[in-house]
Amino acid sequence: MAAGLTYEKIQSQTLSSTQSAIQFLSISTAYTDLILVWAYKAASTNQPTLRVTVNGNSSGYSTTQLYGNGSTVASTRNTSASFWSIARVSGTPSTTAATATIIMNFPNYSNTSYYKSILARTASTDSGVELDCGVWQNSAAINQIDVDAATSNDFGSGSVITLYGIAAA
């Protein structure tokens, strides 16, 4: 993929059946930032926390969450974890077939000089909104993104997940 083009689709998936996980492999390092946009459709009532890992690695993650569920505002945090916890309290639906919007930003993902970060926002009228920020204590360029949940078959058919590349140069 040629560098210099911005907000360009890298990969896209439209789920044709219920899934427990999604995966983006062999992500080009030709961009500066990544944006993952998920038109989420729930296949369960689990309201899952999205467990995000990169490069198949399961250590060195921390996440801070700020959320509002329509009545309560609170913030939580987890460190030394095996994944980033996205939509930990709010943002994925607890109603089957309900929809949500999830956007994850991975700034400077191809840099190899310092640790990688994530900024994620999740929004659902079913469970509320959440703002998540996290760090992966690893300086490797991100070439793979995996998302799953502690429960199974939460991601519904019709969900559209697209990974875009943003180029600064």
Binding site: Y67, T125, D126
Partner: protein, 167 residues
């Protein structure tokens, strides 16, 4: 050439303000829509901007997280789609900002909307609101209408609509 993040339409409010900003005949050729709004309410003191799709007022809802710089953020819900903009009591010549992302707007699913909006104005009060919205309708979105809760949207307010494609 990239096929994504394409300007679809824009609205720049002229002298005297306007009762509404209306994007009609939105093309169905993209995957997602992004609406960037800079807005101020001209006459009222409760500055929110309402949003309708396809001119429908039913089946709208949202939950939001809001704070004004104080120690007590709130979370609440509404039965409309709305976001923050600046109001006449805010500092002059300031406009609220809103980023509205509408994924999968042509699908036959209910339309989930993510909105971040702020009214920072270097004055006594400013708000920020993060919103999860829903239009519980399976129609493709072909029209977006913005109106002030009361009064008009002020001169110099702008709205830019972009199409984002994963094709």
């Amino acid at each position: 050439m990239p096929t994504t993040f394409v300007p679809i339409n824009k609205s720049i409010v002229g002298s005297g303000g306007t009762a509404s900003i209306d994007f009609t005949s939105i093309p169905q050729t993209y995957t997602d829509l992004l609406l960037l709004v800079s807005a101020r309410e001209e006459t009222a003191t409760s500055a929110v901007c309402f949003m309708k799709f396809n001119n429908a007022t039913a089946n709208r809802s949202e939950k939001y997280l809001q704070n004004n710089g104080g120690a007590s953020p709130i979370s609440s819900s509404t039965s409309v789609l709305q976001f923050i903009m600046c109001q006449p009591t805010d500092s002059a010549s300031t406009f609220g900002s809103a980023v509205i992302y509408i994924p999968n707007y042509t699908s036959n699913q209910h339309k989930a909307v993510m909105t971040d909006s702020v009214s920072e104005n270097n004055g006594a009060t400013a708000f920020m609101r993060m919103i999860g919205g829903l239009w519980a309708d399976t129609s493709a979105i072909n029209q977006i209408t913005l109106t002030a809760d009361t009064g008009d949207i002020a001169q110099y307010s702008t709205a830019y609509l972009y199409g984002i494609s994963n094709a």
